[in-house]
């Protein structure tokens, strides 16, 4: 019995016998597989703006999602009422997808035992704490940013956390639970000088206790980074337009991997042959310098998960090894239809959503070059170190991401800061242009949220300094 199973039994009276009964109802019209995803989530958030609490909220959401698979078909229903009649009704609704005599029987549920330590054993999750200590962190960030420079005119500090308890029971006997804490803090600064206004932002967090913000990533650090970016942008000049050499700094610029290759390697797109990476397994999709992994097993990271939302343990998956495409990101449905093993990437936003293949923490392994050498070798180009969001069209392979902090490189030296610009490239091709990889791999600070089909899940990215020989940069200069 997992502790989450005990929790749902104690709080909502859901017993092991009930789980089997609900799975039975889900499969009563046929189908190959059924699963139940119980979720109990507490969350809180806070917004400090103009040094005032503009919003403070906390809440609870609870529900169960029921899925029936029959071949390539999925039937899905959910309810936020855990009364047995409501769950049975949802199970029968999901069962509508299947027809004919039952083709599978339910294997006795066995609690999964994870053979490795909990990736986020947080004794007290931030979401279980009162407002005061979180407000104190926000105030510290606010005070630091305001005192940083007289040109900082506006400061906004956001804080949000959640604690999810999930229980997964499936007709193949899977019984698994996980308790997932998550916390994040963001600082936004607006700087003004004469008629110029610029913004700067910094955020971070992970599956961590609140003490993380005392020891690992303090409010002052976030505030300083946000304020510095805003101040620096005041003197930024328009970014050039056209194809050019771009050096990406370490850490969050790893969003390149997420957009350019990660989404295109999700197995639902591969199975449907709608991704530009379809049929490319074993082929070169990047230069020799590039080894890219998706790794859900990093302790405390925002994108990490002990188990995916279908009960499969997360893994360290090598997607691209020395430039050769090695593996796709799988969930239960697609791995079964493709006849391969699941990779622990079946994720969903909540009980109201169907699972699908999603990334966890996606990063490129470190190379051997010194970052200074990489920059020194560029005659004319752009050094981009911080980014906003990105997006990809997985069918054409075209992706974009927006640089919020970048600099001109002239004769191997970093010179003028540049205003915001979008980089656009072609996913299956862009990593073949990686000519140098630094030894300075960094993971991002813990701010990533990935959207797909209207579902958001927390993710991480990471990158060493890399040089891209030719990508289109969209500025006005």
């Amino acid at each position: 019995m997992t502790s989450e199973a005990q929790f749902f039994e104690r709080q909502f009276g859901v017993t092991a016998a009930d789980l089997a009964r609900y799975l039975g109802a889900a499969l009563e019209r046929g189908g190959d597989y059924a699963d139940l995803y119980f979720e109990y989530q507490t969350s809180s958030s806070l917004l400090l703006d103009e040094s005032l609490v503009k919003s403070a909220t906390q809440g609870i959401s609870v529900g169960v999602g029921i899925r029936v698979l029959s071949g390539e078909r999925t039937g899905y229903a959910y309810t936020d009422d855990l009364a047995p009649d409501k769950i049975l009704h949802a199970a029968r609704t999901a069962a509508h997808i299947a027809s004919g005599p039952a083709r599978t029987h339910i294997v006795g549920l066995r609690a999964a035992v994870l053979s490795r330590p909990n990736l986020y054993a947080v004794p007290v999750a931030p979401a279980e704490l009162a407002l005061e200590p979180k407000l104190e962190l926000a105030r510290r960030a606010d005070a630091f940013a305001r005192g940083f420079d007289r040109r900082i005119e506006q400061v906004r500090v956001g804080y949000a956390d959640e604690l999810k308890q999930v229980l997964i029971a499936a007709s193949d006997g899977t019984l698994a639970g996980d308790t997932q804490p998550l916390a994040r803090m963001n600082v936004f600064c607006l700087a003004r000088e004469e008629k110029q206004s610029q913004k700067g932002q910094s955020g971070g967090g992970g599956r961590v206790p609140l003490a993380f913000f005392e020891t690992e990533l303090t409010p002052e650090t976030l505030a300083r980074r946000a304020a510095e970016e805003a101040i620096r942008q005041l003197t930024a000049r328009p970014c050039p337009a056209g194809e050019m050499t771009v050096v990406l700094g370490p850490g969050w610029p790893g969003i390149l991997l997420h957009e350019a290759v990660g989404h295109g390697l999700e197995a639902d797109f591969i199975r449907k042959k709608t991704s530009a990476f379809t049929g490319r397994l074993g082929q070169r999709v990047a230069s020799d310098h590039c080894t890219v992994v998706d790794d859900g097993t990093l302790p405390g990271r925002r994108g990490s998960i002990n188990l995916d939302d279908e009960g499969a343990p997360s893994r360290h998956n090598v997607l691209i090894e020395k430039g050769i495409l090695k593996s796709y990101l799988q969930d239960h449905l697609n791995s079964r239809l493709l006849g391969v093993s699941p990779t622990g990437n079946g994720r969903r936003e909540s009980y109201a959503h169907m699972p699908m293949p999603r990334m966890t923490n996606t990063y490129m392994l470190a190379g051997e070059d010194a970052p200074e050498d990489i920059l020194r070798g560029v005659q004319h180009g752009i050094y981009a170190v911080n980014f906003g969001g990105g997006q990809v069209d997985i069918t054409s392979g075209k992706f974009v991401f927006s640089a919020s902090e970048s600099y001109l490189i002239e004769d191997g030296k970093i010179t003028a800061p540049l205003r915001g610009a979008t980089l656009i490239g072609n996913g299956p091709d862009v990593l073949t242009r990686v000519s140098r990889v630094g030894h300075d791999l960094q993971l991002d600070q813990g701010i990533g949220t990935c959207g797909k089909d209207g579902q958001s899940v927390p993710v991480g990215v990471g990158l060493p300094t890399i040089r891209l020989d030719g990508i289109t940069v969209g500025g006005t200069g």
């Binding site: 703006d49 609490v53 919003s55 403070a56 909220t57 906390q58 809440g59 609870i60 959401s61 609870v62 529900g63 390539e72 078909r73 999925t74 039937g75 899905y76 229903a77 959910y78 309810t79 936020d80 949802a90 609704t93 997808i97 009162a130 407002l131 407000l135 506006q154 906004r156 607006l190 003004r192 206004s197 610029q198 913004k199 970014c239 337009a241 056209g242 194809e243 449907k272 709608t274 530009a276 109201a352 906003g388 969001g389 990105g390 997006q391 069209d393 054409s396 075209k398 992706f399 974009v400 927006s402 205003r419 610009a421 979008t422 656009i424 289109t472 940069v473 969209g474 500025g475 006005t476």
Partner: protein, 449 residues
Amino acid sequence: MRELIELARGVVALAQRRGADEAECVIQHGCEFSATVRLGEVEALKEAGGKGLGVRVFAGRKSASAFSSDLSEAALARTVDSALAMARASTDDATAGLPEEFAAAPNGAAGLGIYFPGTAAIAPEAGIALARECEAAALAADPRIQNSEGGSFEASESHSVLANSRGFAGGWSRSGCSLSAVPIAAQDGQMQRDYWYAVAHRREALEAPDAVGRIAAARAVRRLGARKPPTGQYPVIFEPQAARSILGHIAESVNGDMIYRQSSFLAGKIGQAIAHPSVTVVDDGRKPGGFASRPYDGEGVATRRTVVIEKGVLQSYLLNTYAARKLGLRSTGNASRGLAGAPGISSSNLYLEPGATPAAAIIQSVKQGLYVTELIGFGFNAVNGDYSRGAAGLWIENGEFAYPVEELTIAGNLSQMLLQISAIGSDLEFRGSVASPTLLFENLTIAGQ
């Protein structure tokens, strides 16, 4: 509906008994249905319902909120208490508080034409049939379409209730349904995806599935053979589907929260010419049958028609009660509201008034330039108006489409872009709450080769 309104009133009274000076309760209740068909086979069916309650309390000048999907008595008491505990730990904010004036007839959405009971209660087979017909039309439209992300039909009904300690108590309902197809065209090793869709408040008002599928197919096929355009300064036409995003950027830039924080390039520009004299932008919260129409906003303030830009001159911001007080203005009835947190601000039915020129004539007027059909990425900065986004579309030579283009960016600054809108199409059409006709920008920076 009546029961939900009574429940909301009860929660407000409970909050006051437990020590709130003022309180407000929102309840959202809804159900959804969706069917997806891919290559003719059913891929997914979803059917479900849910509800949630949020409560916002004021203790003196301090406020906080809490929400729960569990509406049992014990859960409601816990929710109210946690909101009160947070409020007491919060800061005084003299601007916060419930509105002074409320909508008059808050019970139901009569007259707006946005609710048709039973819209989401469709037989699964009927929903599947619509999705299948839509996808089939796309697949049959052109031999270069052999694959698809599918055809979908979705329907929903939602009920929203609001009550507060100043005596406001009301509720309204909305229904909606949509149909879409996402075909994939392939030729010479290149794949291109596009989509088309229809939306309505009731099934009978949806466009025919085969028409939707055919348009989706034509949009995907016309992208085949796309290449990078030249880099340089060119006139750029946004088709209506792409021009909507410009309206979205305007909405963000006139959002009262951005204005009182001085975080928008349009802050303080009321009465100034910020766009070409041919540009008029309206936000109409009461547009009959509008996809964002509702009798009152997220705080109970009556929705209304607000002229945001008239003949190029900025006339109004979009405001909720808080932002209005900050700016010494009246709320425009644009408070948005989820279950959690303080009210935000969002546009309602926001559109740019059509011009007299047919879109075809605008295209013919361009000697060499870009026709944008899709934008990707998040490259708009409302603080200073900087604009740089990824795009795909068609290259224009001598007034005609010459070849499709992709992997390009368009850059400019919205403050200058709005002034150089030199032609506005006559083709305004609502396919959602935000709509724009075809727009021509005289000169933007395109980065390609």
